[in-house]
């Protein structure tokens, strides 16, 4: 009896491996190999036509003296610092209101969610370009309020803000995640607090926020990773302009890859971006023990 159990287990163990085989192949071919190849390429000079030439760390040396790179890095940092907090705060705020048991919530939830479903579509980027154009909807609304029209795509900062706003506008999916988390907050905590004389406002900061920190943490990391890799919005809406004011790092990498065919140099740049993203992710993970509150069994978000 015992023996058959063991053989059963062994047989099954290989079955499990069999089921995940597609993923293993996929990981090796479409993730592992590209990572290794990209690492190798970052130390070479390669133009797709001639064989790669090893250049050691020359690419990296060159990058840190490359004004275009440094400028794009600065712009990317600025973009990330605008878009991530704004999007998180806004989605948490709206989720908080939607969580109060009001009638017709489903309607609002759907209305808010639609942009995030359509958001990354090229069509939306085209529409955005149009809404913020000199005679576009936004300036027409401003005109009604007697505010002088803004040349949204004429100056670097407003242009970057416009792009960030496109992503904030797509706060729907982040909001839905927050909403699910808020629903899990046990109601008796609030009751206990109100007996103690706490108010809604204080409850929000003293009870709600601490309890949903794991979800805030999750959303923060995901938004961070996405924001650093933003390509579509600046590429489609502003083409990186004006004066490279929205020329984010992924665009620079794209241009070096597919316009100038500097495959090695572009790989080195994508490694630097990769390291930046990973550093931020790790810092967030490391710091999470100070600000993320887990229920006693932990790890649940």
């Amino acid at each position: 009896m015992k023996k058959t159990n063991i053989t059963n287990y062994k047989k099954e163990s290989w079955i499990g491996l069999l089921y995940i085989t597609p993923w293993i192949i996929g990981f090796l071919v479409f993730t592992m190999y590209p990572i290794v190849a990209s690492f190798y390429l970052s130390f070479t000079d390669y133009d797709l036509l001639n064989a790669p030439i090893m250049v050691g760390i020359d690419n990296f040396k060159k990058i840190f003296g490359d004004k275009e790179f440094l400028k794009a890095l600065g712009v990317t940092g600025k973009y990330v610092f605008i878009v991530v907090p704004l999007k998180l705060a806004f989605s948490l705020f709206v989720a908080f209101i939607l969580n109060m048991s009001l009638k017709g919530i489903n309607f609002f939830r759907t209305a808010y969610y639609i942009p995030s479903i359509l958001g990354s579509n090229v069509a939306i980027a085209i529409l955005w370009k149009f809404i913020f154009s000199t005679d576009g909807l936004v300036n027409q609304v401003l005109a009604v309020m007697n505010i002088a029209p803004v040349s949204w795509f004429g100056q670097p900062t407003p242009a970057l803000f416009t792009i960030a706003l496109l992503r904030v506008w797509e706060f729907g999916s982040t909001m839905v995640i927050f909403l699910a988390a808020l629903k899990e907050v046990p109601g008796d905590l609030y009751e206990a607090a109100s007996v103690d004389g706490s108010n809604k406002f204080r409850n929000f900061f003293n009870i709600t926020i601490p309890i949903i920190t794991p979800v805030i943490f999750f959303n923060f990391i995901m938004q961070l990773i996405h924001a650093f890799q933003e390509f579509n919005a600046p590429y489609l809406v502003t083409s990186g302009g004006p004066m490279k004011g929205t020329y984010l790092l992924p665009m620079l990498i794209y241009d070096h890859t597919f316009k100038y065919y500097n495959m090695g140099y572009a790989s080195a740049m994508s490694w630097i971006l990769f390291i930046i993203i990973m550093t931020f992710t790790l810092i967030t993970f490391r710091s999470s023990k100070y600000w993320v509150f887990y229920n006693d069994n932990g790890g649940e978000s």
Binding site: I114, I117, N121, M222, P250
Partner: protein
């Protein structure tokens, strides 16, 4: 008036005051909700209106209703500036989207079943890698992938866009289905096993029916994301004939360039959104449930 009555009257008054305060608060909340809803929806509504306006009218009013409905932007836009009609690009898009949805659903279901229901050597490492790929910035993979497909001579085909989905490359979906599977009691498949069901039969006849909502979510998200995918076709597809909708739209925008023919571009963009909107409204709950259980980024 007895003391009791006075107290009752005071109590009544207080309750009414509370009620009024509550109503004002509710009203305030609704106002915020409505303002946000306008902020979210009005641009889309206005653009729908704009697509029926003449070019001269677009820039004159913030009101969305056109003075007269003009279908010319749609008719002209449909023809596009290329030798192909919009319909051609729609078909191209579906040639990518449909196989990708099918492949993703199959490969992701199998992989998540393996992770959620079996013990096997190196499972912990594999799972850690899976979670790691969730956090991996894709940008690092782009150049070598391009070179790999180039070596295979498969650039300018749909293979690079579709084939990887056979191998469960989207860790998000695997993770999401694992989460769902974990919430299904194991007794269900144990009893099937006792009845002599093979593992694959257990998956197909016992688990898939229970998992259906989650699997539909995976299919729907794949549909949306592939419909929206811009970077993939931009890198891999180079001939106009094979362009999907996203690239064709971008092309029409570039062709328009200056200030003319905006209504045509808007009309086409809106047409491009229709499949996504239809799918979203016919299966809304799957999107919201899917996203809340796993925390997928949409």
């Amino acid at each position: 008036m007895s003391e009791l009555e006075i107290r009752e009257a005071a109590e009544y008054k207080r309750q009414r005051k509370n009620k009024i305060r509550k109503h004002t608060k509710t009203l305030g909340l609704y106002m915020i909700l409505v303002v946000v809803a306008i902020f979210m929806m009005y641009p889309i509504i206005w653009l729908v209106g704009a697509s029926f306006k003449s070019n001269a009218d677009i820039f004159t009013s913030i009101w969305f209703m056109p003075k007269a409905f003009d279908f010319a932007p749609y008719i002209q836009g449909w023809k596009t500036g290329t030798e192909y009609t919009m319909g051609h690009y729609f078909i191209n898009t579906f040639e990518i989207v449909i196989p990708k949805v099918i492949f993703t659903v199959i490969s992701v279901t199998l992989t998540s079943y393996g992770f959620a229901r079996f013990n096997f050597p190196f499972k912990k490492i594999c799972f850690a890698i899976l979670i790691g790929t969730l956090l991996l910035p894709n940008i690092i993979l782009r150049i070598p992938s391009y070179m790999m497909w180039r070596t295979f001579g498969l650039l300018d085909t749909y293979v690079p866009l579709v084939l990887p989905s056979l191998f469960a490359v989207d860790a998000f979906f695997v993770f999401m289905l694992i989460q769902f599977l974990r919430s299904i009691p194991k007794d269900l498949d144990e009893s099937a096993k006792i009845d002599g069901c093979s593992t694959i039969k257990t998956l197909l006849y016992i688990l898939v029916p229970v998992l259906k909502p989650a699997i539909i979510s995976v299919g729907l998200f794949t549909f949306m994301w592939t419909m929206n995918d811009f970077m993939g076709p931009l890198i891999f597809i180079s001939s106009v004939e094979k362009y999907p909708l996203t690239i064709a739209l971008k092309m029409s925008m570039d062709a328009t360039g200056g200030a003319f023919d905006w209504n045509k571009v808007i009309a086409m963009s809106l047409l491009g959104l229709i499949p996504s909107i239809l799918v979203f409204f016919s299966a809304q709950k799957y999107f919201i449930e899917g996203i809340s259980t796993s925390g997928i980024k949409g």
